[in-house]
Amino acid sequence: MNETGANETSKYLLEARNITKVFGELRANDDVTLSLKPGEIHALLGENGAGKSTLVKIIYGSLRATSGHLFWRGRAVTVPNPAAARELGIGMVFQHFSLFDALTVTQNISLALPSDVDIGALSGRIETVSNDYGLPLRPDALVADLSVGERQRIEIVRCLLQEPRLLIMDEPTAVLTPQEADQLFVTLARLASEGCGVLYISHRLEEVRRICHDATILRHGKLAARVDPQQETAASLAALMVGTEVAAVRTDKGTAPGAPLLELSGLSLATDDQFGVSLKNINLAVRAGEIVAVAGVAGNGQGEFFDALSGELTSSNNATVKIAGVGCGREGITQRRRRDAAFVPEERLGHGAVPNFPLSENVVLTHHSVEATRLETGDGMAGSAVVRNGMIDRDAARYVNRVVTELFDVRKGTPDPEAQSLSGGNLQKFVVGREMALQPRVLVVNQPTWGVDAGAAALIRQALIDLARGGSAVLVISQDLDEIFEVADRIAVISRGEMSQAYPSEELSLERIGLLMAGAHEAVARNAGEAGAA
């Protein structure tokens, strides 16, 4: 059946042949080929830095390939810019939304449409299309006031209004509740049945297996495999992405948890930020030896909650936050660190580390008030305090850096590079490892593996579990439910600044978490009560 090349190519909606993209020394894409048929949901898989985003940006015209060719419905095309891509019928939903907070839904959408579109009639069209596809939107709402799920709907509706033949989605479900994700899958299936191709980037292999018809896997910028995801397991897909088997995290449940080391009682915190979330009467206890995870959709108060725990935001009532039984709600972050607590914020570059400081100086930033690192590489060198009598001991800081980077497999070019020169995954390993080096009794970590590849994520999760099993209390704030179920002993859900009680993780189904995420505390609590009574 290969007598003519023309027929062969024309059955594809899009072909990207032998795409190479060079950034300086880095070959972000190296001879990558991808093809996709109309009506097909095609997964594009790979670890962070494997070149997925580069490839879709080339297809969408935001980047220019160094070499290689694009074919659209069998015809060679050049896509010099996103407008040209949209003209062909390619729409894209970005991972980091390309929305403007200060503008309304209609204004945001009109910016992506050709300039001859009548803005007056647009609101009506938005309402029609959004209801038609089950993605309800208020056209005159200000984007800043919308939830992340609603924002994504804007991006999708914006693409749909252009009647795309190909829809590119970059990690669309990372920000959604399970229910919202299900709704998205319905929309995608409908689009595919109408003949629209979908190029789907995701880290969530289970959902890829569930909805995708075909998969292209990239590794280090090269094409690693082309497989039928429904014939694979999540583990085999992960192995293809990483190149080796990913070590499964050992999740042995430790001994019964001990005394509470981190206690929150009646923690309320009003925000003065227009787009912030106020915390409302949060009660939670994390005991020695256990990991409690806080699930929730982004923007439901996780940032404020973390700040309240770390002491970046202080409470007026000292008793609302207790570390090892001592009230410290009014204390700042340094005083809380002296109580043997450690904190890993969500944003690693800029918040967790100073970009243009070398790693050893970034060590000093969180180790300055404590006695010494407790981790050792086993070479007999004991750690000593990095700051003594107000003076920085650079050797001690470099020692900590060496220990951390060895134990956490932080890959770097020079022994003590600037934080910003590390890749996201490696910097995350450093930021987590730096706090681990203190072997704190209480560890609070926000989004421990956000944007981190499978191998690094497994390493970080294992370290969290090991720390808890060693007798510390670990609180993980995460939006990744797979991660939460992998590490957590108990799970609480935060929604609009309110926290549910912490349920043992084996008692929670995905569905119930989804309900809690959507803010249905009472309903779930009642169901739980009935189930308990029955």
């Binding site: 935001s62 996103p82 403007f100 907070d101 503008l103 910016l111």
Partner: protein, 306 residues
């Protein structure tokens, strides 16, 4: 001419250069660029406007020259900050210093020469009506021009696609770029518009306010314009109020002083600043409106990846 008429006329004359410079900077900042060189662009507009008018004996040509001088200065700023990616703050400050120095050099031969005054438009009948005639219909082209520009900017910003694009570029340049808008081109345009308005403000000083060339005659008005933009929360309507309020209090202070009222002159000369700041703080009490109108990307450099 009655006293009230005279007061109103001087208020309008004092407010117009502030309004012109500030409305230009408002557009520049809306696109996400902070140009601290307003004072420098203004003084260059003043000296070039005067020089051209004196040489050609045409005040209108002077106005044109002032405008071009402002645009020239702003394009230098645009090239440095947008293409060469220098710091906007440092470059803007240098632009002011450059303008003050350069204008002194250009204007050396023009100091003390009799100026060409930009004549008031004489509208038949209307300008002859007592009181209303001089107060409303007796101004020069730049006074009407400044009001027209403010109305035009408000219309473009809030009613047109171009305005939406400017706001989008200033609100999130990465998103604007991802959607295929040319961020640098939009910013170049807005910077040049800001330069043109500052140049006009300068020309107004040397052709209408005091029709002669005096070194440093902008005397800090560029900085006041910058402050007005921030306090107006980037809204043209409020900017208009702010500029005229400032002009009013300033002129009232001068009259009070002339009348010999026993108030320290330092207090009187600081009064316009105080009153304007307080008034604009009060009207910008709506935090949502402020947040929504603040260009989120202001001052941040943008380099498109390619």
């Amino acid at each position: 001419m009655g006293a009230l008429e005279a007061v109103i006329l001087t208020i309008i004359t004092a407010s117009t250069p502030l309004l012109l410079a500030a409305i230009g900077e408002l557009v520049t900042e809306r696109s996400g660029v902070l140009n601290l060189g307003v004072e420098g662009m203004m003084i260059m507009g003043a000296v070039c406007g005067f020089a051209a008018a004196y040489t050609t004996h045409s005040a209108l040509l002077g106005v044109g020259a002032g405008l071009l001088a402002g645009v020239g200065m702003s394009l230098l700023f645009a090239f440095l900050t947008q293409t060469l990616m220098t710091s906007q703050v440092a470059t803007g400050l240098s632009l002011t210093l450059l303008g003050l120095g350069l204008s002194g050099m250009i204007g050396e031969g023009f100091t003390g020469l009799p100026g060409i005054k930009l004549e008031a438009l004489n509208i038949p009948f209307l300008s002859d009506i007592p009181f209303i005639g001089p107060v409303i219909f007796g101004h020069d082209i730049l006074v009407y021009g400044s009001l027209f520009i403010v109305a035009g900017v408000a219309y473009v910003l809030f009613r047109t696609r171009l305005g939406l694009i400017i706001t989008a570029v200033g609100g999130n340049h990465h998103s604007a770029h991802a959607l295929g808008y040319n961020v640098l081109r939009v910013r170049y345009g807005c910077i040049a518009f800001g330069g043109a308005c500052s140049g006009l403000a300068g020309a107004y000083l040397s052709l209408a306010y005091t029709p002669q060339w005096i070194e440093n005659m902008s005397s800090g008005r560029g900085w006041i314009a910058l402050a007005l933009v921030v306090f107006s929360t980037w809204l043209p309507k409020r900017l208009l109020v702010g500029a005229y309020l400032f002009g009013t209090v300033w002129i009232m202070g001068l009259y009070v002083q002339a009348l010999g009222v026993d108030i320290p002159s330092q207090l009187l000369s600081s009064l316009p600043y105080l009153v304007t700041i307080v008034a604009l703080i009060i009207i910008s009490g709506n935090k949502t409106l402020t947040k929504v109108n603040t260009p989120a990307c202001i001052g941040q450099p943008f380099a498109p990846e390619r």
